[in-house]
Symmetry: C2
Subunit: 256 residues, 2 copies
Amino acid sequence: MSLKRPMILVTNDDGISAKGIRSLFEAVKEFGDVVVIAPDSAQSGMGHAITINEPLRLYDSDLFGDTPAYACSGTPVDCVKMGVYEILHRKPDLIVSGINHGANTASNVLYSGTMSAAVEGAMENIPSVGFSLCSFDSDADFTASKSVVKNIVKHVLKNGMMDYTCLNVNIPDIPLDELKSIKICRQSLSFWDDRFDKRKDQFGKPYYWLEGEFLEQDKVEGTDLYWIERGHPTLVPTQFDMTAYKAIKELENWNL
Amino acid sequence: MSLKRPMILVTNDDGISAKGIRSLFEAVKEFGDVVVIAPDSAQSGMGHAITINEPLRLYDSDLFGDTPAYACSGTPVDCVKMGVYEILHRKPDLIVSGINHGANTASNVLYSGTMSAAVEGAMENIPSVGFSLCSFDSDADFTASKSVVKNIVKHVLKNGMMDYTCLNVNIPDIPLDELKSIKICRQSLSFWDDRFDKRKDQFGKPYYWLEGEFLEQDKVEGTDLYWIERGHPTLVPTQFDMTAYKAIKELENWNL
């Protein structure tokens, strides 16, 4: 690390008052000068959404003591954009997002606001890491996660990041002394089997809650789901080039 | 095509009353039995967001004559999930999304509700195509686009789709007789240079509009941006495995 302290932007998708972002802040503050900018309310499942059809609001927050902190009315991706372009007026040296209350393994990377903030960082070519604990408990124990965060942040600040790439880190919900080594792996090809719970409101009109069950159909060695189950934190390098290169040749045979 | 008419789900992100979805409906209706389910309001920029913190509403729509049509209070991805699990109770043979009022080239695939609907279809392994016209005009001329839609839909229904892949089709905003051949290519590595327009409301409190300029920094041969500029519709096969495989080896040297 250079003598100059790194500038670290901290964000999340569970909202600025979540226990997870406080834990993330505590884990990274020793590594640099921190600025927190996070949604003013829960933004889980917002994916890579940006706010373009309504204006954004930004409020000072005193939740992090002397550390500059801001609550934003928008999505996690909005927070990254506002952090870089409106608050810092420069690219930070590192963006960390999380610690999410709940796993962002497999295809959940697409739905995840936590990971979308990191992906937005990658689009700006800023070293960025999304952290998720495999527990949806709002009072989850982040002790072990903080240790994983410190380890990874230390290495990212030392090594930098591959161009236009970010890291998706998931951490099993087990005590620190049971946590095994970090595994570098790929995103499992697993999905949700969705359902809707149809109810009636006080006027007898129907409304729906999205429910479902996650089908862990691709829990083979080399995937995040495989290693999480065996007590290993996982690290999936993540890119935003979604081109399916293997399909190009087949499509050329279509003679469109 | 088999004797049984294909079931085609039509959606978009500009909302059910947009000119683009009407044009898409008109282009595909000859190919099968159509069901329309689209957001009840504009959902541009919603990316892969899903609605999990509030309930969803679904309303019958008579905008498409005798064709079953539904307006949904949620995002484009919600529309696909509701279409499959609550309306059709089966996977359709094809999902088409659009025609978007505006390009979804390059990294815009991540922000785009139009393309996220198609990506959600790919996650269900349903052949899915997102169509976008490179014009943000709400009264844009979709005549040439309809011709491109027909060509591609015909081929998809005949050939099927590569597993867990969808198509991102962008169409230049030029007359049909100037439109050149469809090019199969990759997503350009280009981004937005963001800005925020800071204003004051009637109480003197600040609010922000996200603005910016798209930097076409990777407009080389083989990219969507390159061919669009030369009058070719582009087709980028798109996947949702975001693993940066090339980075795995480098990360293994980090000795985490």
